[in-house]
């Protein structure tokens, strides 16, 4: 009956499949017939042909009469329910019998599942962005990607006129929506009262139909066609007109009167844009001359259902060739025929609406988008935790095999088949996993508020959604139960009843290597997580504490919303500020270091001499008190002086700007500053030490200061407590700003906000790494308890023969230490790679010192020792008579 090994035997795989699927009582005759037939075919038509027909006929046996019945090994016995009742009962009894083991197993799984559930909620939320818009699959955003000469422009902004051009000439484009974001946060006048508005934009009427924006009052159809119209969210309406109907009211913005045409439900947070105040786009286009080179419009295209975005991209780029190429010479100094040559490129492309939140991270996004990297990292950590919990389950179950062995023996003697035993153990592990899922649901409901705090979201737990969460959870519970229960089930069911009933151990010495290697795997994962956690925390505190080149503490910035009103009282305001004891200095500038990088200008600069050195620089208009107020230091030269009229043509460079212009003698160098279409002759009067004005992920860019007009920000350096300074400032502001709202921030706070995503990441990595390590430790506790328990007799005998408790203790400890050390060694390269790839995003970063790895390893060993020593000590100190009597 065993496989014959003659060279002309039929295909073995086909036989195997047949064996596997066919009923046991039929297999003999079926295989017999097939083999005989094979022999005949082979003799007549050759081996290859015979093999084919063998397969053909084998497959024809896969019909109901020959197939095994599912869920029952014996077709005569169809009463499975009684058996399952018994399995359930036995599972419960075992659960109660060994409480420590059950607790460890269940709590590990529960932590793992709860973490995964929370992470799942987070990830699902991240992926739900912008999907509430009807027909979101058809909506695309236009991105402009230009590199012309030394100018780069890669932003989700398109020319003002592009939308009109496309709807007229490209049939695939059904509708095109446009947004233009001017002052995102601004002020409006209501009679003589000035109110702050947030999340303001300009939009065309099409924006209200391309996107799903439900109106509660007014009609969205063509609502924004007239230049002086506005629609707003419900919360903005209550903010501006409390207890009044806002419809039809007048709002004054920029000295123009806008009429409120509609009120919509507040936009959801799950969108890459959230506007509360939408003014007519026509207002902007009616005031300014705008054409193909006005790249300032967020353009969203709704394509026809069957249209391919690639085909539309082709037409977009045709438009670029026709309308933009002729203008590049003038604006970028690049001739039209060279825009796609000599390292230049110019193109439009489309982004699917649903991809924007996670995949787009361009300059000038409407709001900061999510991070696919964070989502991925956290998903991986979630799976790792579940994996570790699964390993615990496998380890603890197989470790306890000796105890269950007797049960297996009795069951086998009473006629259980191996398959029934496997079913029993799988059923048991699935019960565990269902139990853990139910507990985890409770844990999630309790922990969700804390989790929300870390990620800065408002996630809620509900079993619905598409696909429904309860269904996913049930499926996951079955998969987890079967997955984790598989190996123990096979091991336990394989026991020889004779041996187990006689009390012989079923494990050959080789068996425990599997358990050891699983422990090694678990602990190397944990060690890796510790290293990564340490590195992330260190890097972020390095970023927070690194000297920035200016003093971000004790500094407040204040936004000016209305320059006209401000200018009226500037002197009074300044004098009052300077008279207060807790205000040290005051300055005015266009940008402040932390929030400045949002508003980058690219200006060109030409050096004099034979070579024309051209560098694009950030240019910040400042006044003479700016440098001292910010706490920056001058490397050379001097600050602007109010008394020297010539300083209006003076420039202060940062070190990077001086370096990249390759000036031999920077001080006093004469340079040409090109801004817009105009050139100014300027002279360098000072060099300021480099300071960080953007994220630490970017290197410091060239920057210049000039004495300029229109500075929109006030910086105030204060002493004493920030609260006190803010209230002083607020008082002065309210008396002298002509009714402008008070919008002030601590620079240190803004700086911290800049790293919000990283901070979230840090919170997530910390929380879940600790959980993962907890689960691993739980597993180790179980394993240690079990293994020391098993060696009780050995310890007793050793003790009787004269071993000291400390020797026994050391022996037990050693057994656990070796796998932990191996796992630390394994973890080092993996952790190094992971940490390095994360750090590589930062231009300014900590070095990966070996201390991280040594520290993590020591921590791991220490934790393992603590876990193990409790049990080991107990056994090592126990009375040998008790150990030896124990049976």
């Amino acid at each position: 009956m065993e496989n014959d090994t003659r060279p002309n035997r039929p295909p073995a795989l086909a036989d195997k499949i047949l064996n596997w699927l066919c009923r046991d009582e039929l297999i003999e005759e079926i295989r017999g017939d097939l083999h005989e037939f094979y022999g005949m075919e082979r003799a007549e038509k050759g081996a290859l042909r015979a093999k084919w027909t063998y397969w053909y006929h084998m497959l024809h046996f896969l019909r109901p009469f020959a197939l095994k019945k599912l869920f029952s090994s014996n077709s005569q016995n169809s009463n499975n329910i009684a058996m399952y009742k018994n399995y359930f009962l036995i599972a419960l009894r075992n659960f109660r019998k060994d409480k420590l083991y059950s607790f460890l197993n269940l709590s590990g799984l529960t932590i793992g599942i709860a973490s995964c559930l929370m992470i799942f909620l987070y990830v699902r939320d991240e992926y739900s962005f912008d999907k509430h818009h009807e027909g979101y699959e058809q909506i695309y955003r236009v991105v402009t990607d230009l590199k012309l000469g030394d100018r780069e422009f890669h932003r989700p902004l398109a020319p003002v006129v592009l939308a009109e051009h496309l709807t007229e000439t490209v049939p695939e484009v059904e509708e095109a929506a446009r947004f233009m974001v001017g002052q995102f946060n601004s002020v409006v006048d209501l009679g003589d009262q000035q109110m702050q508005i947030k999340n303001a934009t300009y939009a065309t009427s099409e924006a209200l139909s391309v996107f799903t924006i439900p109106f509660v009052a007014g009609n969205p159809d063509r609502a924004l066609d007239d230049p002086k119209t506005v629609v707003m969210s419900e919360s903005m309406a209550t903010h501006l007109f409390p207890n009044e109907d806002a419809m039809g009211k007048i709002v004054t913005f920029n000295t123009d009167d806008f009429i409120v045409k509609g009120i919509y439900k507040d936009m959801t947070e799950n969108s890459h844009f959230k506007f509360d105040f939408i003014m007519s786009y026509a207002y902007q286009t009616s005031r300014f001359e705008m054409g193909w080179m006005s790249l300032n419009t967020y353009t969203y295209l709704k394509l026809a259902k069957a249209a391919s975005p690639a085909a539309v991209e082709v037409k977009l780029n045709e438009a670029l060739q026709t309308y933009i190429a002729p203008l590049t010479q003038e604006t970028f100094n690049v001739p039209a025929d060279e825009i796609n040559a000599n390292g230049n490129h110019a193109r439009f492309y489309l982004q699917a609406l649903a991809d924007i939140h996670l995949k787009s991270n361009l300059d000038r996004e409407i709001n900061a988008n999510g991070s696919l990297e964070n989502v991925r990292t956290i998903s991986i950590i979630g799976m790792i935790i579940l994996f570790i919990a699964g390993i615990n389950f496998v380890n603890l179950s197989t470790a306890r095999a000796a105890i269950r062995g007797k049960e297996v023996g009795v069951r086998k003697v009473l006629g259980s088949k191996r398959k029934q035993l496997i079913t029993q153990f799988l059923f048991e592990s699935t019960l565990y996993s269902f139990g853990a899922f139910i507990l985890a649901t409770g844990v999630v409901i309790l922990m969700l508020p804390y989790f929300n705090q870390i990620i800065g979201r408002e996630l809620s737990f509900s079993l619905g959604g598409t696909p429904p969460l309860w269904l996913l959870m049930t499926l996951a519970a079955v998969v987890l139960g079967v997955g984790a229960g598989c190996y123990p089930a096979f091991v336990l069911s394989s026991f020889n009843p004779g041996k187990t009933l006689k009390g012989q151990s079923q494990f050959k010495t080789g068996k425990s290597w599997l358990r050891s290697s699983l422990v090694v795997l678990q602990f190397s994962i944990s060690t890796t997580l510790i290293v990564v956690t340490l590195v992330v925390n260190n890097q972020l505190s390095y970023v927070m504490d690194k000297p920035l080149g200016f003093d971000k503490d004790k500094l407040i910035t204040l936004d000016i919303m209305d320059l006209n009103r401000y200018d009226l009282n500037e002197e009074v305001l300044k004098n009052e500020l300077e008279s207060k004891p807790n205000i040290e200095s005051y300055s005015r500038s266009g940008f402040v270091p932390v929030s400045g990088s949002r508003r980058q200008f690219y200006l060109e600069k030409y050096g004099e001499g034979a070579t024309k050195e051209s560098v694009s620089v950030q240019s910040w208009p400042v006044n003479e008190t700016y440098i001292p107020t910010q706490g920056m230091s001058l490397k050379a030269g001097r600050n602007f002086s109010k008394d020297l009229a010539s300083d209006t043509a003076g420039l202060i460079l940062n070190e990077t700007a001086a370096r990249s212009l390759q000036l031999e003698k920077p001080l006093g160098a004469r340079l040409t500053l090109k801004a817009g279409g105009d050139s100014y002759n300027m002279q360098v009067i000072g060099i300021v030490e480099d300071f960080h004005f953007a994220s630490m992920k970017e290197s410091i860019k060239p920057l210049i200061f000039y004495q300029g007009s229109d500075p929109w920000s006030i910086s105030v350096r204060f002493s004493g407590s920030p609260q006190e300074a803010l209230s002083t400032l607020k008082n002065i502001w309210e008396n002298n700003s002509g009714g402008q709202p008070f919008v002030a921030d601590l620079v240190s706070q803004q700086y911290t906000n800049q790293y919000q995503k990283e901070d979230q990441m840090k919170g997530l990595v910390n929380a879940f790494s600790i959980l993962a390590i907890c689960v691993a430790i739980l597993g180790l506790v179980g394993l240690a308890t079990f293994m020391t328990e098993q060696r009780r007799k050995e310890m007793g005998i050793r003790k009787v023969l004269g071993a000291k408790p400390i020797q026994l203790f050391a022996g037990l400890l050693k057994k656990f230490t070796i796998p932990i050390i191996i796992s630390c060694l394994l973890a080092v390269p993996v952790a190094y790679l992971a940490a390095n790839s994360w750090l590589s995003e930062y231009v300014y970063r900590i070095s990966l010192s070996p201390l991280f790895f040594i520290g993590a390893s020591l921590l791991m060993i220490l934790m393992a020792w603590l876990t193990v020593s409790f049990q080991s000590l107990k056994v090592a100190r126990s009375n040998p008579t008790e150990n030896l009597r124990y049976e």
Partner: protein
């Protein structure tokens, strides 16, 4: 037992089991079907019919000795039971009866010259 009717293929198999007595087993039955009817039949189809016939009580079977060409496996030999014989007779009778009742005219119209 729900159906003791004989299907067309089942009847064929049953008949051939009788023809091949005492050597009727899966492969030989298939062989004979192919020889007699020139139909293409999978071995599995024959086994399936045999198992149905056995379930209906028309066939009984026993395991024979193992042979070398079967890779050391035994074959199952089938014989017709009494009720199997009855079923065949009933079918045969029914057909003969019906056939005899067909008027000459109807067959002539078909231009079957041999009858």
């Amino acid at each position: 037992m729900k159906g003791t009717q004989l299907g067309e293929f089942e009847e064929l198999v049953l008949l051939i089991v009788g023809v091949l007595y005492p050597d009727a087993y899966g492969l030989s039955i298939r062989e004979e079907i192919i020889n007699q009817t020139k139909r293409k039949v999978a071995i599995g189809a024959v086994h399936s019919a045999l198992s149905r016939l056995q379930e209906k009580g028309f066939l009984e079977s026993r395991l024979d000795e193992a042979t070398h060409e079967r890779g050391g496996r035994r074959k199952r030999l089938f014989t017709i039971t009494y009720s199997g014989k009855r079923a065949l007779e009933k079918n045969h009778e029914l057909r003969n009866n019906l056939f005899n009742k067909i008027p000459e005219l109807a067959l002539k119209g078909l231009n079957l010259s041999g009858i």
